[in-house]
């Protein structure tokens, strides 16, 4: 499914990430997943939260530069080769990935967050080749 990811500009200084998590915690917003991309002196915090609009409003109140970015969330089987199978499809269809991050939910499933260059094309490719993905009785939830 397509979901709204909250992206925040952060300087590479100690305490900046902590500031965001503190604000989220005080607002009662749970961070389901996050990753940080960094360069030499700044970074981008990307996070999945239950109420992205509320998170954006609160962060803006605290003067952060924030952006909502649509990303695709896929629940995949948590076993060897399942990410590869997914990526094969995207690569065969010539879909470029700007960034991706993933984490295990439990023994059976993992969550993959993908930001493709073309989100609709990516989604279409996954829909069209659903059969291939679901072979071997593995369940992907897109």
């Amino acid at each position: 499914m397509i979901t709204k990811q909250v992206s925040v500009f952060l300087e590479n200084k100690s305490g900046r990430l902590n500031e965001v998590t503190r604000i989220m915690g005080e607002a009662g917003i749970n961070i389901s997943a996050f990753s940080i991309a960094d360069s030499s002196d700044f970074g981008v915090l990307r996070m999945i939260v239950p109420d992205p609009d509320k998170a954006v409003t609160i962060l803006r109140e605290h003067l952060f530069s924030v952006q909502i970015t649509p990303v695709i969330i896929i629940t995949s089987p948590n076993k060897p080769g399942s990410l590869s199978r997914l990526l094969n499809i995207l690569s065969e269809d010539g879909i470029f990935i700007e960034y991706i991050y993933a984490f295990s939910m439990n023994e059976n499933s993992a969550v993959i967050v993908i930001r493709p260059s073309d989100i609709n094309r990516c989604l279409r490719a996954l829909e069209e080749r659903r059969e291939e993905l679901h072979s071997q009785n593995d369940q992907y939830i897109i």
Binding site: Q5, S7, F9, L10, E11, R16, A37, D38, S39, D41, F42, G43, V44, R46, L63, F64, S65, V66, Q67, T69, E98, Y99, R115
Partner: protein
């Protein structure tokens, strides 16, 4: 030795006579050839015959850098372009430089004043002068070059940069005089150490340093490290370039070539002339230039004038080292930088007002410019490569417009301090 004793040692009355005659002639010429300045005089209710001597100078309207920009490129020239044999330009806001033009006679005048200053500094015709100022639109390189040739000394026209080669040639060619910015002189000293060359291996005896402000401490440091006498030279392209004034071997203020460039000190707020010896803004009237003579040009440099006779025997009025600026101009490695230039570059890249802070430091011996830019949401992209591209673009635009390299840092919104609603734009950490 004094190059032009008649002028350089003239009595105050003799000098005033020369200045008055030349001023009267220049006012006539400008009034009849420069519509912009004629309008200013008319608005002030002045006709050329109102200027009867030097005492009437303060009646005349000022000329500013903005006038030159407004009449870009050649609108302030008093002669047809066929008479102009060279142009020079200094960097300016959003790519509009300040342009000056020289006739054949102007180039001769320029060479004459530079020769005087070199002789003041103790340079002789048997010296070997390495000109490490930039050659090109900047007046530094070519200005010193022709003055040196006029003196009859040997020029090494190496221009700026390429430090190891500079040092190599100093050694091989027996350079006795180095002309460059004072910060570059310190850089040369550092690289010499790296190359295992000591000042004793060289013949250097004099340095002609200018194009940026420097302190007495820096002079001591340069003189200690390069084992030479460090002489301060002053000039600006609008007046002629280097050679407007220069220290003599007494190193006690810069003698102004005042038979060509009449100095005044004004209060930058009230614009009224200040009494002799008071600190204020330096203003020049050029009274022999043909290409672009300027009356009461505001340099924005703050200094004071010394009218006492110098131990060197010269009576030419001296100016102290400049104490600062009456505007916000910064001089970074000899390049003039206005914070407003940075602002317009950022404005062109975004719709809204940019928040930025310029931090100037002197690391080692070179000025460094760091620019913090707040990443407002209109700049913000979720992808690092877009942010990196933004940073590169800002860096590139600034470098191509200003000609100085800059280290651009992207910072979070509201991290740049605002005082009373107005953001602080510049922090200059250089100890000058």
């Amino acid at each position: 030795m004094i190059w032009n004793e008649t002028i350089e040692c003239a009595t105050r009355d003799e000098m005033k006579g020369i200045q008055s005659a030349r001023l009267i002639e220049t006012v006539q010429r400008i009034y009849h050839n420069v519509p912009g300045y004629r309008n200013k005089m008319q608005k002030a209710g002045l006709v050329p015959t109102d200027i009867k001597s030097l005492d009437d100078l303060s009646k005349l309207p000022f000329t500013t850098k903005e006038d030159l920009r407004e009449h870009y490129p050649f609108g302030m020239f008093t002669v047809p372009m066929s008479e102009i044999v060279r142009v020079h330009a200094s960097s300016g806001t959003t790519g509009r430089p300040t342009v000056v033009g020289y006739t054949r006679k102007d180039l001769n005048t320029w060479a004459e004043v530079v020769t005087r200053t070199l002789v003041m500094a103790g340079v002789h015709r048997h010296d070997v002068v390495q000109v490490a100022y930039g050659y090109g639109l900047f007046t530094g390189g070519l200005g010193i070059h022709y003055g040196t040739e006029n003196l009859g000394a040997t020029v090494i026209p190496i221009s700026g940069g390429n430090t190891q080669k500079q040092i190599q040639l100093m050694q091989d060619f027996g350079t006795t005089v180095i002309a460059c910015t004072p910060s570059y002189a310190l850089h040369l000293a550092e690289v010499m150490v790296d190359m295992g060359i000591s000042p004793e291996d060289l013949q250097l005896k004099t340095g002609i340093f200018g194009a940026e402000p420097w302190s007495e401490n820096m002079r001591k440091e340069i003189e200690g490290k390069l084992k030479l006498r460090a002489i301060d030279i002053y000039g600006l392209s609008e007046v002629i370039g280097p050679g407007v004034s220069c220290e003599c071997e007494c190193q006690a203020g810069m003698h102004i070539n005042e038979d060509h460039f009449i100095p005044e000190i004004i209060d930058p707020e009230t614009l009224q002339p200040l009494a002799r010896g008071e600190l204020g803004e330096l203003v020049f009237s050029t009274v022999t230039k043909e290409g672009i003579p300027l009356l009461r040009y505001r340099t924005r440099d703050l200094t004071r004038l010394i009218y006492d006779k110098c131990d060197c025997g010269r009576t030419l009025v001296r100016m102290e080292k400049c104490r600062g600026r009456s505007d916000d101009m910064l001089i970074i490695r000899g390049v003039n930088v206005f914070p407003s230039q940075i602002e317009s570059i950022l404005l062109e890249m975004s719709e809204t007002e940019p928040h930025y802070l310029l931090i100037v430091d002197r690391e080692g011996n070179l000025d460094t410019l760091r620019l913090l830019v707040e990443v407002q949401e209109q700049f913000f992209s979720d992808e690092i490569k877009m942010l990196e591209a933004l940073r590169k673009k800002i860096t590139g635009n600034i470098q191509s417009t200003l000609g100085v390299s800059v280290d651009v840092r992207l910072v979070e919104p509201r991290t740049i301090e605002r005082t009373a609603g107005k953001a602080k734009r510049v922090i200059d950490n250089r100890k000058l």
